[in-house]
């Protein structure tokens, strides 16, 4: 109780103070408030994760009814992720925002929204009253909207912001619909009513309710085809906000899905198949589009979609596990999903911070214009490299651990004789490596063109390494990435309790023997990953020892005999993925602009590609265009002519009076004819 009170007081205090401070203090207060909030909530969260279920019932108002605050292990887990990402984001943002220190009012708004975003995210994890939940949800959406449109001078930023706002609204509408359904049946806003409702209804009712929730949360999480806001919002926001959005805000959608799985009693098998299907498509589609992007942040945004797909595969497998009463599958699926949620929040925020460093030193996000930053910004380069490796799921980093768990889940599901199950699993088995492979293509492209080679356009001033203020939070993230990669068993053990919630659905036993065996395997993975690191070091060391004595000649890159290489000769990012693009073209929507080289003495030639999202074109643009056309047909109504205005009234009254009469006559006529 005291903690919650303190929590609220800190929010109010910070929000009240920020507008009156000077710019530096605005930042400091924001960071301090974020830290304090994180600390306060982490106490509860850590307690919940170690088994002390926290529950408190607030009286609420006459409108909302009693508001239960329940922190179980699942909430605790997500709260810790949120807190960590917000702390690194706040520290990174403190430095990042120095470039904008003249926009004092914007920064106040930004700081307040930042605190509110954190608080509302935490609230979403713990509130278990529909109305309170929806309010927290919307505050989260609105505050992140404000955070996104920080650079509101740009037209695209506002556009992206509105896009985000509208899709958030559709999301909340779907959630509202689902909550109303429950409230109608059980007349209670408590989340427990969801369980009561679905337990009493048929399994299909549960599935329908779940799907309603799922669609709502999927918009926030960015499942295809509900993802279209995401690639706009991420590039528009400042780097730390992109990091947080991708790291935790979209994860709250995952939290929602998991929470509903815990609450709703339904046909888990069917639900599992649906999630698995959507997730595989999401993963492949996300990465397919990520590869063709030219904007670094947009590329990262599409990768978030891909990773949500991977998490979704885990959840889908877990659900199938529940449905099949296969505890191993349940355990591994959800463990993979949860761990990947954590992992993705780490490496994706790190990648976005890295992209922020690039942006602030090179002043562009266009991959085609960047290059050779590795030498100018060694720290950022290394950090970005590690994060890239991690996001590709390569050992010895954390991404591998969670993907490994999901793989293990996939293989452990390869049993029995259910053809539907097997084909689902084969789908996952096809999807996962393909996603991994494509991610590799994508990140070699991104890292290779941004940090390696030579700069592809001459910047006004030479790029400089980011300051320590930005690097320290990034290194903190890095530490965790490597930590999870090398000592995964610690984190798997921490997942025991959240996982027990899921495995508990179909077995009375809390902790599982499977946990032990998985932990064992996982610890081996960690050990061997460490060994790999050592082995690589050893080979490198031997190489160094041997080559130390040998002559080293600096020279030019091999240019097929051409000895005056210029940066324009470098392979570009577009060319790097050209063969991929050619293959994937039928599935993508790429607008091309080509200027052919002609005649004997040709002028300039060139080619541009502008990737567009086919799902967006079909599902958003086209219906929207039709809707607009439809609306435009009715714009004669307010035509300024008074006579028409009177006519509306006359027509209304006449129709209301005449139509039922005519209908009656027609009906009696029909009856009469029938008699004949």
């Amino acid at each position: 109780m005291a903690i919650i009170a303190a929590f609220i007081v800190v929010i109010l205090l910070a929000v009240a103070l920020i507008p009156w401070m000077n710019v530096l203090w605005k930042g400091v207060i924001t960071v301090a408030a974020v830290c304090v909030l994180a600390l306060l909530s982490s106490i509860i969260a850590a307690g919940a994760l170690s088994g002390n279920h926290f529950e408190q019932l607030f009286r609420g108002s006459a409108i909302t009814g009693p508001i239960p605050v329940r922190v179980d292990a699942l909430s605790g887990f997500f709260m810790l992720i949120i807190n960590f990402t917000f702390i690194t984001g706040a520290f990174y943002g403190l430095q990042y925002m120095k470039a904008y220190r003249k926009q004092s009012t914007d920064i106040s708004l930004h700081g307040i929204s930042f605190i509110l975003a954190q608080a509302s995210l935490l609230a979403i994890c713990v509130l278990q009253n529909s109305i309170a939940f929806l309010i927290a949800w919307e505050i989260m959406a609105l505050s992140s909207f404000i955070l996104i449109i920080f650079e509101h001078g740009k037209r695209e930023t506002i556009k992206a912001g509105i896009n985000f706002l509208i899709q958030s609204h559709i999301c909340i509408m779907l959630l509202t619909l689902a909550f109303i359904w429950v409230a109608m049946k059980k007349d209670s806003y408590d989340f427990r009513a969801i369980t009561l409702f679905t337990a009493s209804g048929s399994l299909l009712t549960g599935v329908a309710l779940f799907l309603c929730f799922f669609m709502g949360f999927a918009i926030k999480a960015g499942f295809v085809p509900f993802h279209t806001w995401l690639p706009y919002a991420h590039p528009a926001a400042p780097a730390h906000i992109s990091g947080i959005m991708s790291g935790v805000i979209i994860k709250i959608g995952i939290y929602g899905i998991l929470r509903m799985l815990l609450l709703i009693r339904c046909d888990y098998l069917l639900v599992g198949y649906i999630i698995l299907f959507v997730a595989v498509i999401t993963g492949i589609y996300g990465v397919m589009l990520a590869i063709v992007q030219h904007n670094l942040k947009r590329l990262l945004a599409y990768h978030s979609i891909e990773n949500i797909g991977i998490i979704g595969i885990g959840i889908g497998l877990g659900c199938i596990g529940i449905g099949k009463e296969n505890n191993v599958l349940t355990f591994l699926g959800f463990a993979g999903a949860l761990l990947h949620t954590l992992n993705h929040s780490l490496f994706k925020s790190l990648l976005f911070y890295g992209a922020g460093n690039v942006y602030q030193s090179a002043h562009t996000m266009d991959i085609e214009k960047l290059g050779g930053l590795g030498k100018r910004m060694p720290h950022s380069s290394v950090l970005f490299l590690v994060a890239s490796l991690a996001i590709c799921g390569l050992p010895p980093f954390n991404g591998f651990v969670s993907e490994f768990l999901i793989y293990k889940g996939v293989f452990s599901g390869l049993q029995g004789s259910d053809k539907l199950l097997l084909s689902g699993i084969v789908g996952a088995l096809f999807g996962l490596p393909l996603i991994g492979g494509l991610a590799m293509l994508c990140f070699t492209k991104a890292y290779g063109t941004v940090f390696l080679g030579r700069a592809r356009h001459a910047p006004d001033q030479l790029p400089r390494e980011a300051g320590a203020g930005k690097l320290i939070p990034m290194y903190a993230v890095l530490l965790l990435i490597i930590g999870i990669g090398l000592f995964p068993q610690i984190f798997i053990t921490a997942l025991d309790r959240p996982l027990a919630l899921f495995t508990g659905i179909n077995s009375t036993a809390g902790l599982l023997p499977e946990a032990g065996s998985a932990g064992n395997t996982i610890s081996q993975v960690g050990t061997w990953a460490l060994l790999f690191l050592l082995l690589a070091g050893l080979v490198f060391w031997i190489r160094k020892k041997i080559t130390a004595l040998k002559p080293v000649t600096p020279g030019n890159t091999w240019g097929c005999g051409y000895t005056g290489p210029v940066e324009k000769m470098q392979y570009t990012a577009s060319s790097f993925i050209r063969s991929y693009r050619k293959l994937a073209e039928p599935l993508l929507l790429i607008h091309k602009k080509k200027k052919e080289i002609k005649e004997v003495f040709p002028g300039d030639g060139g080619q541009e590609t502008h990737p567009y999202d086919k799902a967006e074109a079909w599902l958003i643009d086209y219906p929207l265009q039709r809707l607009k056309g439809f609306f435009n047909r009715f714009t004669f109504l307010q035509n300024g002519n008074l006579q028409f205005y009177i006519l509306y009234g006359v027509v209304f009254i006449t129709l209301v009076l005449i139509v039922p009469l005519v209908a009656d006559y027609l009906l009696s006529l029909v009856k009469f004819l029938n008699k004949l």
Binding site: S61, A62, I63, T64, T105, D106, I131, L134, I135, W137, E138, I139, A141, L142, I149, H152, G153, R155, I158, G161, I162, L165, I166, H169, I170, M173, T176, L177, I180, W181, A183, M184, L627, K628, F631, N632, F634, T635, L637, Q638, L642, F644, Y645, I646, Y648, G649, V651, F652, I653, V656, L657, P660
Partner: protein, 475 residues
């Protein structure tokens, strides 16, 4: 007390009309506000006690009267701000305040009247006083707005009168001739169906002009656009509520008859069409005030949906109309400030308001969130309840259509608001921009704060009043 109030207020209005002195004008307006406040408190304390035969301060009347009183104070304040910045001639100012006082008084009386014919008289008076406000600028376009408003309202009020005549036919069948609401309610089951239907359709159509519903919403848009912004605020809030009172009270009567479901269908059609029309024009208009006006149409439609759905929807409808009044009033007040900065209402001329008036832009931002029913706005709660009641009443398709339309409205509304707040204006000269003091926006913040408070954590007494107001509806 009602008698004193009416006499006093109309007296003040008369004095204001003839007075040309600034100081006396202040005094008279303050006197009116004190009178209004006193009257409100008195009526609140003497709830459900009939006065002058034709006035009963019932729960609904009290709720709306309190709303009016709360809005009237900033309305007067913003009127001074508005007129002060324009250096108007004293004659126009005098007419302005006289009309405003008359408007507020007749609206208050219309809220409290317990007799349908008396309500009708005061509604007619509101048209008169409102038209004087609309014509304040005295140019071609305001003349056009006034003419349209007066004409459409005159037709509407005639329709209401015809409706009342039909109602009296119906009532005479039941062997009674007292047109007071309580009597109507008592006789409701005996009313002749045929006449009642006619009465309902005419009265409903007539009152839509005030409430801002399809079919007679049209002239109200022009009126809110052309009226000075404080007057626009009143027209979009308290004057709208007059239409609501008229429809609500009569609907309460109808709900006890066999015509109930038929009436529901009519209201449903009108409400859906209203939301639809609002959507169509929200995506199209480029005039901030007209946009707000269309937003009011949308909310009127929502309120009516609440009535149609029944159950918890009744509660939501009453709460919604009150909260909407606060939000719309503050948005219109803020629009006055925007106009002072840009000297334009057109979307093409405004922009980057965030830079020129930080406090005002916060009002705008919050007002947008609140008007589109995003939490923590109280409208979120009411819309949630309305959706719930629609769901419960089995109008799932209506719910889906409404949700879709509301989403489009948010999109259109948001696009314009963010253009206003954040995008740089075209060809706007920064020098000589009027600086607006933050304190001028204080009242708007208070109104918005009320929306949160009343929506999320309403005091018991308030809830009790709303429940009292809807107690005669079938539960």
């Amino acid at each position: 007390m009602t008698g004193i109030y009416l006499a006093g207020a109309f007296g003040i209005s008369g004095f204001l009309f003839f007075n040309r002195s600034r100081v006396i004008n202040y005094l008279l307006v303050s006197a009116f506000l004190v009178l209004q406040l006193g009257f409100t408190i008195y009526e609140y304390l003497h709830i459900n006690k009939p006065e002058l035969t034709y006035f009963t301060p019932d729960a609904l009347g009290i709720l709306l009267l309190v709303t009016l009183t709360i809005i009237s104070i900033p309305a007067m304040y913003h009127s001074y701000m508005y007129l002060g910045s324009k250096q108007d001639n004293p004659g126009h100012t005098a007419i302005y305040f006289a009309a405003m006082v008359a408007l507020l008084t007749s609206v208050s009386a219309a809220y409290l009247s317990n007799h349908i014919a008396v309500t009708w008289i005061f509604v007619e008076l509101t048209t008169l006083s409102a038209s004087a406000l609309i014509y304040h600028r005295r140019n071609n376009r305001s003349l056009e707005g006034t003419w349209k408003y007066v004409f459409v309202c005159a037709i509407s009020i005639t329709l209401v009168f015809i409706g009342i005549l039909f109602l009296s036919f119906s009532l005479s069948q039941a062997g009674a001739d007292d047109l007071s609401f309580s009597n109507l309610l008592r006789k409701a089951p005996e009313l002749n169906q045929f006449w009642l239907r006619l009465a309902f359709i005419f009265i409903f159509t007539g009152f839509t002009a005030k409430l801002g519903l399809v079919p007679m919403y049209t002239a109200g848009i022009d009126a809110k656009d052309k009226a000075p912004s404080p007057a626009g605020a009143l027209m979009s809030s308290v004057l709208m509520n007059v239409g609501f009172v008229g429809i609500f009270r009569f609907y309460t009567v109808v709900s006890h008859t066999t015509v109930h479901s038929w009436a529901n269908h009519i209201i449903l059609i009108a409400a859906l069409l209203s939301i639809f029309v609002a959507t169509v024009y929200m995506t199209k208009v480029k005039n901030i005030k007209r946009m707000f006006a269309y937003s009011s149409i949308e909310h009127a439609g929502l309120v009516m949906l609440g009535l149609v759905a029944g159950g918890v929807g009744y509660f939501a409808a009453v709460l919604h109309i009150i909260l909407h009044a606060f939000i719309k009033a503050s948005l219109f007040f803020q629009q006055g400030q925007i106009y002072r900065v840009y000297q334009s209402k057109s979307m093409y001329d405004v922009g980057n308001y965030f830079k020129y008036n930080l406090t005002g832009s916060m009002v705008m931002l919050l007002g947008f969130f609140f008007a589109t029913a995003m939490p923590p706005s109280g409208l979120f709660i009411t819309e949630f309840m309305m959706f719930r009641s629609l769901f419960e009443a089995g109008y799932l398709w209506v719910l889906v259509v409404v949700m879709l339309l509301l989403t489009v409205i948010i999109w259109a509304f948001g696009k314009n608001i963010f253009k206003l707040l954040f995008s740089a204006p075209v060809a706007f000269k920064e020098e000589g921009v009027e600086k607006i003091k933050p304190v001028e926006s204080l009242s708007q913040f208070i109104l918005l704060g009320l929306v949160v408070y009343l929506g999320l954590n309403p005091p018991q007494e308030f809830l009790h009043l709303i429940r009292e107001a809807i107690k005669n509806l079938p539960q």
